[in-house]
Symmetry: C2
Subunit: 210 residues, 2 copies
DNA sequence: ACCTGAACACCGTTCAAGT
DNA sequence: ACCTGAACACCGTTCAAGT
Protein backbone atom coordinates (compact mmCIF):
# COMPACT_ATOMS: atom_id res chain seq x y z
CA UNK A 1 0.00 0.00 0.00
CA UNK A 2 2.78 2.39 0.84
CA UNK A 3 5.99 2.93 -0.99
CA UNK A 4 8.52 0.72 0.69
CA UNK A 5 11.77 1.67 -0.75
CA UNK A 6 13.31 2.82 2.47
CA UNK A 7 14.59 0.75 5.30
CA UNK A 8 11.87 1.21 7.80
CA UNK A 9 11.87 -0.75 10.96
CA UNK A 10 8.41 -1.54 12.23
CA UNK A 11 8.47 -2.82 15.73
CA UNK A 12 9.12 -6.49 15.95
CA UNK A 13 6.21 -8.55 17.11
CA UNK A 14 6.74 -12.24 16.90
CA UNK A 15 8.95 -12.25 13.90
CA UNK A 16 10.28 -8.79 13.33
CA UNK A 17 9.49 -7.44 9.92
CA UNK A 18 7.41 -10.35 8.74
CA UNK A 19 6.63 -8.71 5.43
CA UNK A 20 10.28 -8.47 4.53
CA UNK A 21 10.96 -11.95 5.88
CA UNK A 22 8.21 -13.37 3.70
CA UNK A 23 9.56 -11.60 0.64
CA UNK A 24 13.04 -12.93 1.25
CA UNK A 25 11.68 -16.43 1.78
CA UNK A 26 9.60 -16.09 -1.37
CA UNK A 27 12.58 -15.05 -3.46
CA UNK A 28 14.46 -18.02 -2.08
CA UNK A 29 11.75 -20.53 -2.95
CA UNK A 30 11.28 -18.99 -6.36
CA UNK A 31 14.94 -19.21 -7.28
CA UNK A 32 15.42 -22.63 -5.75
CA UNK A 33 12.35 -24.36 -7.12
CA UNK A 34 10.56 -22.23 -9.68
CA UNK A 35 7.13 -20.60 -9.76
CA UNK A 36 5.23 -23.84 -9.66
CA UNK A 37 6.69 -24.46 -6.21
CA UNK A 38 6.05 -20.96 -4.93
CA UNK A 39 3.30 -21.58 -2.40
CA UNK A 40 2.19 -19.10 0.19
CA UNK A 41 1.97 -21.89 2.73
CA UNK A 42 5.53 -22.95 2.04
CA UNK A 43 6.74 -19.38 2.34
CA UNK A 44 4.93 -19.05 5.66
CA UNK A 45 6.47 -22.30 6.80
CA UNK A 46 9.95 -21.02 6.02
CA UNK A 47 9.23 -17.80 7.85
CA UNK A 48 8.08 -19.82 10.83
CA UNK A 49 4.53 -18.49 10.92
CA UNK A 50 1.12 -19.99 10.32
CA UNK A 51 -0.20 -20.25 6.79
CA UNK A 52 -2.68 -17.48 7.49
CA UNK A 53 -0.10 -14.97 8.65
CA UNK A 54 0.91 -13.76 5.17
CA UNK A 55 -2.63 -12.49 4.68
CA UNK A 56 -1.94 -9.80 7.28
CA UNK A 57 0.63 -8.39 4.83
CA UNK A 58 -0.57 -9.35 1.36
CA UNK A 59 -4.09 -9.38 -0.01
CA UNK A 60 -3.48 -12.64 -1.84
CA UNK A 61 -0.88 -14.68 -3.66
CA UNK A 62 -0.92 -12.33 -6.64
CA UNK A 63 -0.10 -9.36 -4.46
CA UNK A 64 2.75 -11.32 -2.91
CA UNK A 65 4.15 -12.17 -6.33
CA UNK A 66 3.84 -8.52 -7.29
CA UNK A 67 5.93 -7.62 -4.26
CA UNK A 68 8.66 -10.03 -5.35
CA UNK A 69 8.56 -8.57 -8.84
CA UNK A 70 8.82 -5.05 -7.50
CA UNK A 71 11.92 -5.99 -5.55
CA UNK A 72 13.26 -7.63 -8.67
CA UNK A 73 12.99 -4.49 -10.77
CA UNK A 74 14.60 -2.32 -8.12
CA UNK A 75 17.48 -4.75 -7.80
CA UNK A 76 17.91 -4.87 -11.55
CA UNK A 77 17.91 -1.07 -11.65
CA UNK A 78 20.57 -1.02 -8.95
CA UNK A 79 22.79 -3.41 -10.84
CA UNK A 80 22.45 -1.40 -14.02
CA UNK A 81 23.23 1.83 -12.24
CA UNK A 82 26.33 0.34 -10.69
CA UNK A 83 27.48 -0.95 -14.04
CA UNK A 84 27.11 2.23 -16.04
CA UNK A 85 27.58 4.77 -13.29
CA UNK A 86 30.98 3.87 -11.96
CA UNK A 87 32.77 3.55 -15.24
CA UNK A 88 34.67 6.30 -16.94
CA UNK A 89 35.57 4.25 -19.93
CA UNK A 90 34.69 4.65 -23.54
CA UNK A 91 31.00 4.40 -24.37
CA UNK A 92 31.55 1.06 -26.03
CA UNK A 93 32.90 -0.32 -22.79
CA UNK A 94 30.07 1.20 -20.82
CA UNK A 95 27.58 -0.44 -23.10
CA UNK A 96 29.32 -3.73 -22.59
CA UNK A 97 29.24 -3.30 -18.83
CA UNK A 98 25.55 -2.57 -19.07
CA UNK A 99 24.97 -5.71 -21.09
CA UNK A 100 27.02 -7.77 -18.66
CA UNK A 101 25.07 -6.45 -15.70
CA UNK A 102 21.74 -7.27 -17.31
CA UNK A 103 22.74 -10.75 -18.39
CA UNK A 104 24.34 -11.59 -15.08
CA UNK A 105 21.26 -10.47 -13.21
CA UNK A 106 19.21 -12.83 -15.34
CA UNK A 107 21.63 -15.67 -14.77
CA UNK A 108 21.60 -15.08 -11.04
CA UNK A 109 17.81 -14.75 -10.86
CA UNK A 110 16.29 -16.65 -13.77
CA UNK A 111 12.93 -17.39 -12.19
CA UNK A 112 12.52 -13.91 -10.83
CA UNK A 113 13.36 -12.54 -14.26
CA UNK A 114 10.74 -14.74 -15.89
CA UNK A 115 8.09 -13.56 -13.45
CA UNK A 116 9.14 -9.95 -13.87
CA UNK A 117 8.21 -10.19 -17.52
CA UNK A 118 5.13 -12.35 -17.28
CA UNK A 119 1.81 -10.58 -17.23
CA UNK A 120 3.19 -7.28 -16.08
CA UNK A 121 0.27 -5.31 -17.39
CA UNK A 122 -2.13 -7.00 -15.03
CA UNK A 123 0.24 -6.65 -12.10
CA UNK A 124 0.92 -3.00 -12.80
CA UNK A 125 -2.77 -2.27 -12.66
CA UNK A 126 -3.10 -3.77 -9.21
CA UNK A 127 0.27 -2.71 -7.92
CA UNK A 128 1.53 0.82 -8.19
CA UNK A 129 4.81 -0.37 -6.71
CA UNK A 130 5.46 -2.61 -9.69
CA UNK A 131 4.72 0.22 -12.06
CA UNK A 132 7.18 2.54 -10.34
CA UNK A 133 9.81 -0.18 -10.27
CA UNK A 134 9.58 -0.85 -13.98
CA UNK A 135 9.82 2.86 -14.65
CA UNK A 136 13.05 2.99 -12.68
CA UNK A 137 14.62 0.52 -15.09
CA UNK A 138 13.09 2.14 -18.15
CA UNK A 139 14.41 5.57 -17.25
CA UNK A 140 17.94 4.26 -16.94
CA UNK A 141 17.92 3.06 -20.52
CA UNK A 142 16.49 6.33 -21.76
CA UNK A 143 19.11 8.32 -19.90
CA UNK A 144 21.87 6.25 -21.45
CA UNK A 145 20.54 6.89 -24.94
CA UNK A 146 20.15 10.60 -24.34
CA UNK A 147 23.68 10.85 -23.02
CA UNK A 148 24.90 9.14 -26.13
CA UNK A 149 22.89 11.45 -28.33
CA UNK A 150 24.14 14.59 -26.59
CA UNK A 151 27.69 13.43 -27.23
CA UNK A 152 26.88 12.86 -30.87
CA UNK A 153 27.54 9.14 -30.56
CA UNK A 154 24.02 7.86 -30.96
CA UNK A 155 21.83 8.53 -33.95
CA UNK A 156 19.04 11.01 -33.51
CA UNK A 157 15.52 9.81 -33.00
CA UNK A 158 13.03 9.21 -30.24
CA UNK A 159 15.17 8.34 -27.23
CA UNK A 160 12.45 6.15 -25.74
CA UNK A 161 12.29 4.13 -28.89
CA UNK A 162 16.05 3.71 -29.14
CA UNK A 163 16.20 2.87 -25.45
CA UNK A 164 13.70 0.12 -26.12
CA UNK A 165 15.96 -1.28 -28.81
CA UNK A 166 18.82 -1.59 -26.34
CA UNK A 167 16.59 -3.00 -23.64
CA UNK A 168 15.07 -5.44 -26.11
CA UNK A 169 18.39 -6.81 -27.25
CA UNK A 170 19.78 -7.19 -23.74
CA UNK A 171 16.59 -8.75 -22.50
CA UNK A 172 16.21 -11.12 -25.39
CA UNK A 173 19.81 -12.19 -25.10
CA UNK A 174 19.37 -12.81 -21.38
CA UNK A 175 16.28 -14.92 -21.93
CA UNK A 176 17.87 -16.99 -24.68
CA UNK A 177 20.84 -17.61 -22.41
CA UNK A 178 18.90 -18.65 -19.33
CA UNK A 179 16.60 -20.79 -21.44
CA UNK A 180 19.62 -22.46 -22.99
CA UNK A 181 18.47 -21.40 -26.39
CA UNK A 182 21.82 -20.15 -27.63
CA UNK A 183 23.16 -23.67 -27.68
CA UNK A 184 26.84 -24.28 -27.35
CA UNK A 185 27.74 -20.64 -27.76
CA UNK A 186 26.90 -19.86 -24.19
CA UNK A 187 27.32 -23.17 -22.44
CA UNK A 188 30.42 -21.81 -20.73
CA UNK A 189 30.99 -18.48 -19.07
CA UNK A 190 33.49 -17.52 -21.75
CA UNK A 191 30.87 -18.14 -24.40
CA UNK A 192 28.45 -15.86 -22.60
CA UNK A 193 31.04 -13.10 -22.48
CA UNK A 194 31.73 -13.49 -26.17
CA UNK A 195 28.01 -13.36 -26.90
CA UNK A 196 27.72 -10.17 -24.85
CA UNK A 197 30.57 -8.65 -26.79
CA UNK A 198 29.01 -9.53 -30.12
CA UNK A 199 25.67 -8.06 -29.08
CA UNK A 200 27.37 -4.93 -27.85
CA UNK A 201 29.18 -4.52 -31.14
CA UNK A 202 26.07 -4.98 -33.21
CA UNK A 203 24.22 -2.51 -31.03
CA UNK A 204 26.99 0.02 -31.15
CA UNK A 205 27.22 -0.17 -34.91
CA UNK A 206 23.50 -0.09 -35.36
CA UNK A 207 22.87 2.82 -33.05
CA UNK A 208 25.82 4.97 -33.96
CA UNK A 209 25.47 8.36 -35.49
CA UNK A 210 25.98 8.38 -39.23
CA UNK B 1 5.44 -26.03 -44.39
CA UNK B 2 2.79 -27.18 -41.97
CA UNK B 3 4.58 -30.34 -40.91
CA UNK B 4 3.41 -30.69 -37.33
CA UNK B 5 5.40 -33.58 -35.89
CA UNK B 6 4.66 -37.19 -36.53
CA UNK B 7 0.95 -37.66 -36.95
CA UNK B 8 -0.35 -40.54 -34.97
CA UNK B 9 -3.99 -41.32 -35.58
CA UNK B 10 -5.56 -43.04 -32.66
CA UNK B 11 -9.03 -44.13 -33.56
CA UNK B 12 -11.79 -41.97 -32.21
CA UNK B 13 -13.38 -43.34 -29.07
CA UNK B 14 -15.79 -41.10 -27.29
CA UNK B 15 -14.32 -37.84 -28.33
CA UNK B 16 -12.26 -38.31 -31.40
CA UNK B 17 -8.68 -37.30 -30.94
CA UNK B 18 -8.92 -36.34 -27.30
CA UNK B 19 -5.26 -35.48 -27.09
CA UNK B 20 -5.61 -32.83 -29.77
CA UNK B 21 -8.89 -31.61 -28.33
CA UNK B 22 -7.26 -31.16 -24.94
CA UNK B 23 -4.36 -29.25 -26.44
CA UNK B 24 -6.70 -26.93 -28.31
CA UNK B 25 -8.73 -26.38 -25.16
CA UNK B 26 -5.55 -25.77 -23.21
CA UNK B 27 -4.31 -23.17 -25.65
CA UNK B 28 -7.68 -21.49 -25.43
CA UNK B 29 -7.70 -21.32 -21.64
CA UNK B 30 -4.09 -20.17 -21.57
CA UNK B 31 -4.69 -17.28 -23.97
CA UNK B 32 -8.00 -16.32 -22.45
CA UNK B 33 -7.08 -16.43 -18.79
CA UNK B 34 -3.35 -16.89 -18.32
CA UNK B 35 -1.24 -19.66 -16.79
CA UNK B 36 -2.66 -19.25 -13.34
CA UNK B 37 -6.03 -20.31 -14.70
CA UNK B 38 -4.70 -23.20 -16.72
CA UNK B 39 -6.10 -26.16 -14.80
CA UNK B 40 -6.20 -29.67 -16.08
CA UNK B 41 -9.67 -30.08 -14.63
CA UNK B 42 -10.90 -27.02 -16.48
CA UNK B 43 -9.37 -28.23 -19.71
CA UNK B 44 -11.07 -31.59 -19.25
CA UNK B 45 -14.35 -29.81 -18.56
CA UNK B 46 -14.07 -27.89 -21.81
CA UNK B 47 -13.28 -31.05 -23.69
CA UNK B 48 -16.33 -32.67 -22.15
CA UNK B 49 -14.51 -35.48 -20.39
CA UNK B 50 -13.90 -36.38 -16.78
CA UNK B 51 -11.03 -34.78 -14.90
CA UNK B 52 -9.15 -38.05 -14.97
CA UNK B 53 -9.31 -38.48 -18.74
CA UNK B 54 -6.32 -36.25 -19.56
CA UNK B 55 -4.10 -38.65 -17.65
CA UNK B 56 -4.61 -41.20 -20.41
CA UNK B 57 -2.76 -38.80 -22.72
CA UNK B 58 -0.40 -36.84 -20.51
CA UNK B 59 1.68 -38.01 -17.58
CA UNK B 60 0.90 -34.89 -15.61
CA UNK B 61 0.23 -31.20 -15.85
CA UNK B 62 3.85 -30.46 -16.71
CA UNK B 63 3.74 -32.82 -19.67
CA UNK B 64 0.55 -31.17 -20.83
CA UNK B 65 2.14 -27.73 -20.66
CA UNK B 66 5.12 -29.10 -22.56
CA UNK B 67 2.76 -30.23 -25.30
CA UNK B 68 1.28 -26.73 -25.57
CA UNK B 69 4.78 -25.27 -25.72
CA UNK B 70 5.77 -27.70 -28.43
CA UNK B 71 2.82 -26.65 -30.54
CA UNK B 72 3.74 -23.05 -29.86
CA UNK B 73 7.25 -23.41 -31.23
CA UNK B 74 6.07 -25.22 -34.35
CA UNK B 75 3.49 -22.52 -35.01
CA UNK B 76 6.08 -19.82 -34.48
CA UNK B 77 8.39 -21.61 -36.90
CA UNK B 78 5.61 -21.78 -39.47
CA UNK B 79 4.91 -18.08 -39.19
CA UNK B 80 8.57 -17.25 -39.57
CA UNK B 81 8.91 -19.51 -42.59
CA UNK B 82 5.95 -17.91 -44.25
CA UNK B 83 7.29 -14.46 -43.61
CA UNK B 84 10.78 -14.97 -44.96
CA UNK B 85 10.09 -17.68 -47.49
CA UNK B 86 7.50 -16.05 -49.69
CA UNK B 87 9.23 -12.76 -50.17
CA UNK B 88 11.55 -11.94 -53.01
CA UNK B 89 12.25 -8.49 -51.76
CA UNK B 90 15.46 -6.89 -50.64
CA UNK B 91 17.06 -8.44 -47.57
CA UNK B 92 16.14 -5.41 -45.51
CA UNK B 93 12.50 -5.99 -46.29
CA UNK B 94 12.81 -9.68 -45.55
CA UNK B 95 14.32 -8.88 -42.18
CA UNK B 96 11.43 -6.57 -41.48
CA UNK B 97 8.92 -9.23 -42.46
CA UNK B 98 10.67 -11.62 -40.12
CA UNK B 99 10.49 -9.12 -37.29
CA UNK B 100 6.82 -8.46 -37.97
CA UNK B 101 6.00 -12.14 -37.96
CA UNK B 102 7.75 -12.68 -34.63
CA UNK B 103 6.17 -9.69 -32.93
CA UNK B 104 2.71 -10.45 -34.26
CA UNK B 105 2.95 -14.02 -33.06
CA UNK B 106 3.76 -12.72 -29.60
CA UNK B 107 0.90 -10.26 -29.70
CA UNK B 108 -1.51 -12.96 -30.80
CA UNK B 109 -0.28 -15.48 -28.23
CA UNK B 110 1.23 -13.60 -25.30
CA UNK B 111 0.65 -16.24 -22.65
CA UNK B 112 1.85 -19.05 -24.85
CA UNK B 113 4.94 -17.02 -25.65
CA UNK B 114 5.66 -16.47 -21.98
CA UNK B 115 5.36 -20.17 -21.26
CA UNK B 116 7.50 -21.05 -24.26
CA UNK B 117 10.36 -19.15 -22.69
CA UNK B 118 9.86 -20.08 -19.08
CA UNK B 119 11.89 -22.96 -17.75
CA UNK B 120 12.59 -24.48 -21.12
CA UNK B 121 15.64 -26.33 -19.93
CA UNK B 122 13.62 -28.44 -17.54
CA UNK B 123 10.91 -29.07 -20.12
CA UNK B 124 13.40 -30.02 -22.81
CA UNK B 125 14.85 -32.67 -20.56
CA UNK B 126 11.52 -34.33 -20.06
CA UNK B 127 10.14 -33.66 -23.50
CA UNK B 128 12.03 -34.49 -26.65
CA UNK B 129 9.22 -32.88 -28.62
CA UNK B 130 9.90 -29.51 -27.07
CA UNK B 131 13.57 -29.82 -27.85
CA UNK B 132 12.92 -30.58 -31.49
CA UNK B 133 10.43 -27.75 -31.74
CA UNK B 134 12.86 -25.19 -30.37
CA UNK B 135 15.46 -26.44 -32.79
CA UNK B 136 13.09 -25.83 -35.67
CA UNK B 137 12.94 -22.15 -34.78
CA UNK B 138 16.62 -21.90 -34.04
CA UNK B 139 17.58 -23.36 -37.40
CA UNK B 140 15.49 -20.84 -39.26
CA UNK B 141 17.44 -17.97 -37.75
CA UNK B 142 20.75 -19.64 -38.53
CA UNK B 143 19.74 -20.24 -42.13
CA UNK B 144 18.80 -16.61 -42.54
CA UNK B 145 22.18 -15.47 -41.27
CA UNK B 146 24.06 -17.91 -43.47
CA UNK B 147 22.13 -16.79 -46.51
CA UNK B 148 23.06 -13.22 -45.72
CA UNK B 149 26.68 -14.16 -45.24
CA UNK B 150 26.86 -16.07 -48.51
CA UNK B 151 25.56 -12.99 -50.30
CA UNK B 152 28.15 -10.86 -48.59
CA UNK B 153 25.53 -8.84 -46.78
CA UNK B 154 26.14 -10.04 -43.25
CA UNK B 155 29.43 -9.76 -41.45
CA UNK B 156 31.48 -12.91 -41.08
CA UNK B 157 31.46 -14.72 -37.80
CA UNK B 158 29.83 -17.68 -36.12
CA UNK B 159 26.41 -17.92 -37.75
CA UNK B 160 24.85 -19.41 -34.63
CA UNK B 161 26.02 -16.49 -32.58
CA UNK B 162 24.81 -13.90 -35.07
CA UNK B 163 21.52 -15.75 -35.37
CA UNK B 164 21.16 -15.46 -31.62
CA UNK B 165 21.62 -11.71 -31.85
CA UNK B 166 18.72 -11.44 -34.27
CA UNK B 167 16.56 -13.79 -32.26
CA UNK B 168 17.43 -11.92 -29.08
CA UNK B 169 16.43 -8.54 -30.45
CA UNK B 170 13.18 -9.79 -31.94
CA UNK B 171 12.30 -11.71 -28.82
CA UNK B 172 13.18 -8.90 -26.45
CA UNK B 173 11.20 -6.44 -28.50
CA UNK B 174 8.21 -8.77 -28.53
CA UNK B 175 8.32 -9.22 -24.77
CA UNK B 176 8.64 -5.51 -24.08
CA UNK B 177 5.68 -4.89 -26.35
CA UNK B 178 3.37 -7.51 -24.87
CA UNK B 179 4.38 -6.47 -21.36
CA UNK B 180 3.59 -2.88 -22.24
CA UNK B 181 7.12 -1.92 -21.38
CA UNK B 182 7.74 0.27 -24.42
CA UNK B 183 5.22 2.77 -23.17
CA UNK B 184 3.54 5.09 -25.56
CA UNK B 185 5.72 4.09 -28.48
CA UNK B 186 3.79 0.94 -29.07
CA UNK B 187 0.39 1.69 -27.62
CA UNK B 188 -1.02 1.78 -31.12
CA UNK B 189 -0.46 -0.57 -34.03
CA UNK B 190 1.33 2.15 -35.96
CA UNK B 191 3.75 2.59 -33.07
CA UNK B 192 4.52 -1.11 -33.08
CA UNK B 193 5.27 -1.02 -36.79
CA UNK B 194 7.56 1.94 -36.31
CA UNK B 195 9.31 0.14 -33.48
CA UNK B 196 9.78 -2.90 -35.70
CA UNK B 197 11.25 -0.71 -38.42
CA UNK B 198 13.68 0.92 -36.03
CA UNK B 199 14.81 -2.45 -34.70
CA UNK B 200 15.23 -3.76 -38.19
CA UNK B 201 17.36 -0.79 -39.17
CA UNK B 202 19.59 -1.10 -36.13
CA UNK B 203 19.98 -4.80 -36.78
CA UNK B 204 20.74 -4.34 -40.44
CA UNK B 205 23.33 -1.69 -39.75
CA UNK B 206 24.88 -3.64 -36.93
CA UNK B 207 25.08 -6.92 -38.78
CA UNK B 208 26.11 -5.63 -42.17
CA UNK B 209 29.38 -6.53 -43.75
CA UNK B 210 32.02 -3.81 -43.40
C1' DA C 1 -8.43 -49.51 -25.10
C1' DC C 2 -10.30 -45.52 -23.15
C1' DC C 3 -12.90 -43.17 -19.75
C1' DT C 4 -15.43 -42.50 -15.02
C1' DG C 5 -16.19 -41.58 -10.02
C1' DA C 6 -14.60 -41.78 -5.60
C1' DA C 7 -10.77 -40.83 -2.77
C1' DC C 8 -6.58 -38.43 -0.95
C1' DA C 9 -3.25 -34.99 0.03
C1' DC C 10 -2.48 -30.31 -0.31
C1' DC C 11 -3.19 -25.34 -1.58
C1' DG C 12 -5.45 -20.53 -1.42
C1' DT C 13 -8.42 -18.04 1.31
C1' DT C 14 -11.51 -16.79 5.20
C1' DC C 15 -12.72 -15.97 9.91
C1' DA C 16 -13.68 -16.39 14.76
C1' DA C 17 -10.77 -16.54 18.52
C1' DG C 18 -6.46 -15.90 21.03
C1' DT C 19 -2.32 -12.97 23.02
C1' DA D 1 -2.14 -4.99 16.35
C1' DC D 2 -0.69 -9.32 14.81
C1' DC D 3 -1.02 -14.17 14.54
C1' DT D 4 -3.31 -19.03 15.02
C1' DG D 5 -6.26 -23.10 13.98
C1' DA D 6 -10.16 -24.87 12.04
C1' DA D 7 -12.90 -24.88 8.02
C1' DC D 8 -14.10 -24.70 3.00
C1' DA D 9 -13.80 -25.05 -1.86
C1' DC D 10 -11.01 -26.67 -5.33
C1' DC D 11 -6.90 -28.69 -7.69
C1' DG D 12 -3.49 -32.49 -9.15
C1' DT D 13 -3.11 -37.21 -9.08
C1' DT D 14 -4.29 -42.14 -8.40
C1' DC D 15 -6.90 -46.29 -8.97
C1' DA D 16 -10.43 -49.76 -8.97
C1' DA D 17 -14.25 -50.33 -11.80
C1' DG D 18 -17.08 -49.67 -15.91
C1' DT D 19 -18.10 -49.90 -21.28
Amino acid sequence: MKSERKEKRPKAYHHGDLRRTLIEAGLEVLEQSGVAALELREVARRAGVSHAAPYRHFANKGAFLAALIEVGFYRLAEQIEEAVGSVFNKPEVRLQKLASAYVHFAQANPWLMREMFSGLTIKKESSLGVHDATQAVSKLFITIVEEGQSKGLVRSGNSGELASVIWALLHGMSILIIENQTQSYTSKAAGVERMIRTCTQVLYEGLSHR
